[in-house]
Subunit: 207 residues, 2 copies
Amino acid sequence: MSKKIVSQAVIKRLPRYYRHLESLEKQGIQKVSSGTLAQLLDITASQVRQDFCNFGGFGQQGYGYDVVTLKEELANIMGLNKTYNMIIIGVGNIGRALANYTGFKKEGFNINAIFDIADINTDGLSVNFYKMSELQNYVKNNAVDIAVISTQGKVAQDVCNEIISYGVKHIWNFAPIDLSVPEDVIIENISMSESLYVLSYKMTNKD
Amino acid sequence: MSKKIVSQAVIKRLPRYYRHLESLEKQGIQKVSSGTLAQLLDITASQVRQDFCNFGGFGQQGYGYDVVTLKEELANIMGLNKTYNMIIIGVGNIGRALANYTGFKKEGFNINAIFDIADINTDGLSVNFYKMSELQNYVKNNAVDIAVISTQGKVAQDVCNEIISYGVKHIWNFAPIDLSVPEDVIIENISMSESLYVLSYKMTNKD
């Protein structure tokens, strides 16, 4: 399969296709048409076919897609067939929520440790806690594929710089700022305020 | 200004423009070019100009945009010049994080109450707690512009149906499922797993 530049919009739809395919599989449905997928994602059938064209197609026109095969192809494309070692930096409510959420593990995302500058209450925390002073040593002795930054905005860039200086190349950022990273570092941001403002946009412009 | 259909991609960029304009304003910068905005958002200058064309322009070619004016125009477009009364349903870690986050209030998003089916530990919770059995009465006696659903996935649709049956028209969904809502209800989803899968996609397809 030749490598194409895939647009951000398509990339962001892949997890949604995947989630719906998981749900179809659970319902025992074996074949799905681009029309049904389109309805589930609230896009057009032609958009679905265009999206899949980026990855070489996945099916023959008119026959529908095999649910399990398509799900697995998308899993491969998104790298869900691997395992990832993750750490979380910052034990606020978001950090705790991530540490205790069991849904990521089944897709191979293992949260192995959580760090904070302060001594924290570790009650109810299902992941080993370390002080920030132990971070360098931890990264030296343990594989860290992804560092999650869930600190306050004002310290996030410093934390980001520190973790990158130890060799971590992939950052998942929950802090409410845009972080600067070197070109060889991959970062993905999740922003609650951006999502909320999209909601208020839709409320303001609903007609 | 005539109403156009604005694409999802453009709508999702508005909060990012806004955040960068806030930051430029804080730095005392008065004018910004489409080129600078493009760099900050990692898109092209022509995309910036196209985005703004959806809303009638905002400036004269070659003069740059006035930072404060542009920020305020975007705030108006996103409905950030209003106040919103919000409630949260579901007191997990995410619900707690949202209830205690002070950043939304300064943009007019007031979280007035948080509900759960169970009696919960209200230590450290900065918002009034109510049992779900009080929800109907609360909605009858208080304005609720937005209901935040931060329950587990398996109960989210029931909670969503209940709150809509009381007349709430706008839902911000943190539960990891796609909720079905009537046509006149506006819903915005924020999904952690979707964001994580975009990161693993980028890690898998980095060349």
